[in-house]
């Protein structure tokens, strides 16, 4: 009896891991192998050297596209935060029914393909769209160019990414012990000081999660900035696309992709050391 138990305890049970094999195979074939390919190409196309990296890292155009990418991602992240935080707060301070309704609306746009959402913005902001018509009606004529600008791509990305921010902050807010708020009130805190000294710091983990997630997804965004953004203000993913599709410069494209990957991993690594990656998805 005792021996059986100790033998069971000694030998790790490998069976559960077997359940992971289909997924692992899938990831290997469709993700790891192509990624490895890309990494190899970045050093070998057109010839074996660091030339691609050198050009990307020193070229003015490339630097500018990377800067532009970070600026846009930063702006999108900040906008998501400014929209998401009050909304998450609202969801935590209305009746359950209303909260569920808002949650439904937020997640509904979450479940719509972002290609569809991107096209929806094209229709809305286009020259024959309702926004331009509305601006004309109130006397802004000619209406400013809305589509194919940094404004339109940022707006659409905020729309697409805000749910990540909202869900992250909402979850953290929900977990705040109401007794902490009561205790702050009993100690003399109210209104703004209560928010600044107690509520905001308690929600900081949600803010950090949401921001990292939105930023990291945003710097790799392709479809939305390409379809809605200004061609003169490309983001990295868009530039990679152009390099490969138009110039067949596989080496340059690959080098940029690897740099983007390294930056993303670096952000996640810093986040992991500070908060732990397992918290990222709430």
């Amino acid at each position: 009896m005792g021996a059986t138990i100790s033998r069971l305890a000694d030998k790790p049970n490998l069976w559960p891991w077997l359940l992971l094999t289909p997924l692992a195979l899938y990831l290997a074939v469709f993700f790891a192998v192509p990624l490895f390919d890309v990494a190899v190409m970045s050093f070998t196309e057109p010839s074996l050297s660091f030339a691609n990296y050198e050009r990307v890292l020193t070229g003015k155009l490339y630097q500018q596209v990377f800067m532009n990418t970070f600026m846009t991602a930063g702006l999108v992240t900040l906008s998501c935060l400014l929209v998401g935080y009050p909304l998450a707060y609202l969801m935590n301070h209305v009746t359950r029914r209303t909260a569920m309704l808002i949650l439904l609306l937020v997640t509904m746009s979450f479940w719509t393909s972002f290609l569809v959402r991107t096209y929806a913005w094209m229709v809305l902001l286009g020259n024959n769209g309702p926004v331009v018509a509305f601006l004309a009606a109130i006397g802004v004529d000619p209406a400013p160019q809305l589509l194919f600008t940094r404004f339109s791509s940022t707006l659409a990305m905020v729309h697409i990414l805000a749910p990540y921010m909202i869900m992250n902050i909402y979850t953290v807010m929900q977990k705040i012990d109401p007794v902490l708020i009561r205790s702050a009130e009993s100690l003399g805190a109210r209104g703004w000081s209560l928010f600044r000294h107690v509520y905001l710091p308690l929600t900081a983990p949600g803010i950090a999660n949401g921001c990292v997630l939105v930023f990291v997804i945003c710097i790799g965004f392709y479809v939305t900035p390409v379809l809605l953004g200004s061609p003169r203000e490309q983001m990295v993913a868009g530039l990679i696309g152009t390099q490969i599709e138009e110039f067949l410069a596989f080496g340059m494209g690959s080098a940029m992709a690897i740099i983007l990957l390294v930056i993303t991993l670096a952000i996640l690594a810093v986040y992991h050391r500070r908060f732990g990656l397992d918290k990222l998805w709430g």
Binding site: V179, L180, R182, E185, S186, L187, G188, R190, H197, P201
Partner: protein, 353 residues
């Protein structure tokens, strides 16, 4: 003359459930009052009404003659220690204690100095830089206490603050809280469902049951002169014996099981149905009846030996009785034996309700 804290005819309804019925109480300055009662009896609700987190359906709370009803919690200047401590996890112990001072406009230097003094008083000198999660349960408790006291509140409220601590630590904290409360002279309301905690700490115990105050009296009064059967049963161990007063003036009662009993005379009238209370430690065990005491024969069912003392449970007729005796007095006895139990007439207290 008004009392320091007055609770006047507080009724609290949640929907059609009445959690508090016409609760009234007066507390003197510097007094340590304990709300004692089973879970759900309305202790927390009363505390939250005093603190301003719940609104009474009717009635009023006054401190020094001033009604609190128009004041929000943050205006009441009442220190509260919650059961789970409710320390701010993102602030160090010192910053937690500084927080109420910060809210009152103290500068950081002066505020932290006062916070450090208070941490010193609760026995946490040098722990100011720790975060709550780096402190043990008892230490967190002390920080919560320091934080609730540092701004010189008009009242200190504690809601089952020791519930999460183990027995040794709880006893240590009971003594600590009492020491600090005496030292600062702060008027205190302490909530617990633990009767020994209430007995050892309080100037006065207020016994709650089903939203009503059953009795408000000193610990010894509550123990020896309980007003109701409920109080007698809830505070300490008890033998409760149904009886009828036959001659109030002579202190005589008649019990279906025990027959004629001498009792301590008090207000009950002739012919009134009452309950007789005999505390188990007032009962003596013997082989033969003892002169000068009321004797009865008990069938012993169970003996629980604690070493220094023992609990002997058995039956007299169809009445369950228990006696608590010195450990050495129980050696002669075995479960299943019959023995004699006896008590003095003055050990029998008459409960009218």
């Amino acid at each position: 003359m008004n009392s320091y804290l007055e609770i006047k005819n507080i009724t609290k309804r949640f929907g059609d459930f009445t959690a508090l019925h016409e609760v009234s109480l007066a507390v003197e300055k510097g007094e340590f009052v304990t709300f004692l009662g089973p879970s759900g009896s309305g202790k927390t609700t009363t505390l939250m009404i005093i603190a301003g987190f719940e609104k009474a359906t009717s009635g009023d709370v006054l401190v020094q003659g001033q009604s609190l009803s128009g004041l929000a919690p943050y205006q009441r200047n009442i220190g509260i220690v919650f059961q789970n401590y409710a320390l701010f996890p993102h602030k160090t112990a010192a910053d937690n204690v500084y927080f109420p001072l910060q809210m009152r406009g103290y500068g950081r230097g002066e505020g932290l100095e006062k916070a450090a003094e208070m941490l010193d008083l609760v026995g946490l000198k040098g722990f100011g830089d720790r975060y709550p999660k780096e402190l043990s349960g008892g230490q967190q408790q002390r920080v919560a206490l320091a934080r609730a006291l540092v701004f010189e509140p008009s009242l200190l409220l504690l809601d089952e603050p020791l519930g999460a601590l183990d027995k040794n630590l709880r006893e240590q904290m009971q003594i600590e809280i009492k020491r600090i409360q005496r030292r600062l002279g702060v008027t205190t309301v302490f909530v617990t469902h633990d009767q020994s905690e209430a007995m050892s700490m309080s100037d006065r115990i207020v016994v709650f049951e089903q939203g009503r105050i059953q009795q408000a009296a000193s610990p010894l009064d509550v123990y020896h002169r309980p007003k109701t059967r409920f109080v007698a049963g809830f505070v300490g161990e008890s033998n409760l014996i149904p009886a009828r007063i036959t001659d109030a003036a002579a202190g005589k009662a008649d019990s279906p099981v025990l027959g004629n009993c001498e009792v301590k005379a008090n207000g009950a009238a002739d012919g009134q149905d009452v309950t007789l209370l005999i505390r188990p430690e007032h009962i003596r065990l013997s082989r033969e009846p003892v002169d000068g005491r009321k004797n009865a024969r008990m069938q012993v069912d169970t003996i629980v030996n604690y070493g220094d003392n023992a609990l002997v449970m058995g039956r007299v007729g169809d009445l369950n009785m228990r006696a608590r005796v010195l450990g050495r007095d129980v050696i002669i006895l075995e479960e299943g034996d019959e023995c004699c139990i006896s008590w003095l007439p003055e050990s029998v207290f008459v409960i009218e309700q």
